[in-house]
């Protein structure tokens, strides 16, 4: 099992360690709800070093990414980040990822920890099909660390140490040289809050975390910044309506069904873009046939129970869908879930029910996301 370069920090701060995607990671330090509320009201620091970081460099780097990513890459500017899906030939989702463009011939892709090896192998196999391409793919995950700092007070806190970072627009990044440490700081995240994600060398992250925490004693009750674990990360992303591979995204779920249409450039063409993307043909055929049969929706349940993955969604007695994720929403004080539902029953305002085993509470379809930062 991999240990994060931030491991010692987790132990010092009382992190409860669990295995996740082959890594030993903190699920929480305090109560998950406290960490969730702290992120929504002030700020939290998350270790996300388990996520895959894949460097793609060379003359044909962009062309390779155009082939692999559902979203158009050629129109990206340097120092820009773009959310994309990585599809299979059937139009299912191998993973979702963020592509960071360093330069015309250098990119960094951040993918899910659980999919890192699969995605590296997939990209390598695409390279293998094009012997003429000059491109090098290198998995940088174990040599680097990644930390997310998220919450409404985070940019203010950062403004005390940097003028440049708070001036970054959303989905942009900058590369800082702090003494001998090179760090990429992007205005991105997976919580629905403003904030940054930082990628830096594994051997520098311990010092960086100490410097960061000097801003605030995390043990103090009103500390502006406290560590938070994967438990809160999951409830935060769910409130923010963000899909997670293995739940809302999967190899057998159409990329068109998951509500991430903005990340699918169905009009990519070989002449203008250099490549079409893997899965594009299948998705176009699906669109011509009327589109996906199910759609991802948000549900608010009339119960205190939590809907769990794969629980049936019912219209009357008929199964019309299935739950992908659920939680007791700390911000809304309600039981919320995401689910795939047959398009005929997927309209906002429709009342369905969820089979929770001992109870079948009614569930109303609401707009996603459940929560939007002010």
């Amino acid at each position: 099992m991999h240990k994060s370069p931030v491991h010692d920090f987790h132990i010092q701060h009382g992190g409860q360690m669990v295995e996740y995607a082959g890594w030993e990671m903190p699920i929480r330090y305090r109560s998950i709800k406290d960490e969730h509320v702290q992120t929504r009201t002030s700020g939290s620091v998350f270790d996300v070093s388990h996520m895959g970081r894949i460097e793609i460099k060379g003359l044909h780097a962009q062309r390779l990414l155009e082939r692999v990513c559902s979203r158009r890459i050629g129109t990206m500017q340097a120092k820009q980040c773009r959310y994309t899906l990585i599809c299979n030939e059937r139009g299912g989702v191998r993973d979702d990822a963020v592509v960071m463009k360093m330069d015309d011939d250098e990119f960094l892709m951040v993918c899910n920890g659980a999919n890192r090896e699969k995605i590296v192998d997939h990209i390598q196999s695409v390279v293998g099909e094009h012997p003429g391409w000059k491109v090098k793919v290198e998995d940088k995950t174990l040599k680097t660390a990644m930390v997310a700092i998220q919450g409404p007070k985070v940019m203010d806190l950062i403004s005390k140490v940097s003028q440049e970072i708070p001036s970054l627009k959303r989905w942009r990044f900058t590369t800082k040289n702090l003494m001998i440490i090179k760090a990429h700081v992007s205005r991105t995240g997976y919580t629905g809050e403003d904030g940054v994600e930082v990628i830096l060398p594994a051997n520098a992250v311990g010092m960086a975390m100490r410097m960061l925490m000097q801003q605030a004693d995390p043990e103090a009750p009103d500390a502006p910044l406290k560590p938070a674990g994967l438990g809160a990360r999951d409830t935060l992303r769910l409130e923010a309506g963000m899909p997670l591979y293995g739940h809302e995204l999967g190899e057998d779920i159409s990329a068109m069904a998951c509500g991430m249409g903005f990340a699918i450039s169905l009009d990519k063409n070989a002449e203008a873009d250099g490549e079409t993307f893997i899965g594009q043909e299948a998705l176009l055929a699906e669109q011509d046939a009327g589109g996906p049969k199910q759609k991802l929706v948000g549900l608010v349940l009339d119960t205190k129970r939590t809907a769990r993955q794969d629980m049936p969604v019912l219209a009357g007695d008929a199964k019309v869908g299935f739950v992908t994720s659920g939680c007791a929403s700390p911000t809304l004080g309600k039981s919320i879930a995401m689910a795939y539902v047959d398009t005929a029953h997927a309209g906002v305002g429709t009342t369905l029910s969820v089979d929770c085993g001992r109870e079948q509470p009614s569930a109303t379809i609401v707009e996603l996301p459940f929560y939007k930062a002010k």
Binding site: Q16, I27, R28, S31, I32, K33, G231, D234, T235, K304, R305, T306, R308, C327, A328, G357, R358
Partner: protein, 126 residues
């Protein structure tokens, strides 16, 4: 959190505290740690007859839903109503305010399969 030595513990991480013919049931600190935040509790109603091995109800957490089992025979006398609005009491005080049910016991022989605090601590450490 230290494991109180005034009660016994089951393999499925319930605790049972005997006071005359009333047995109070809860779940251990170790179980609560594994479950993470408790979000919902539903116990069977007062008046329900239970036998050793019967489910007393369910505890839901951020991570999962778990059944809680009885080790004694008897009738559920009281359900902890404070947990309806504040299931987090189980996280805060699993051996005190976070108790689940009180059973008016007719047969406590099932508690012989339980262990004392020292043995329980050794088992979870092992």
């Amino acid at each position: 959190m230290s494991t109180p030595d005034d009660r016994v513990y089951s393999e499925s991480h319930e605790w049972f505290k005997v006071d005359g013919d009333v047995v109070t049931v809860g779940i251990t600190s170790h179980a609560v740690d594994q479950l993470t935040d408790i979000t919902f509790v539903e116990m069977r109603e007062a008046g329900t007859e239970v036998s050793p091995g019967d489910a007393l109800g369910e505890v839901e957490s951020v991570k999962t839903t778990s059944d809680v089992y009885s080790a004694v025979a008897g009738t559920i006398a009281e359900v902890n109503a404070d947990l309806d609005d504040n299931p987090g009491l189980i996280n805060e005080d699993p051996y005190g305010a976070g108790w689940l049910v009180k059973i008016k016991a007719t047969d406590t022989g099932g508690l012989e399969s339980c262990v004392d605090a020292a043995k329980y601590d050794a088992d979870i450490a092992g």
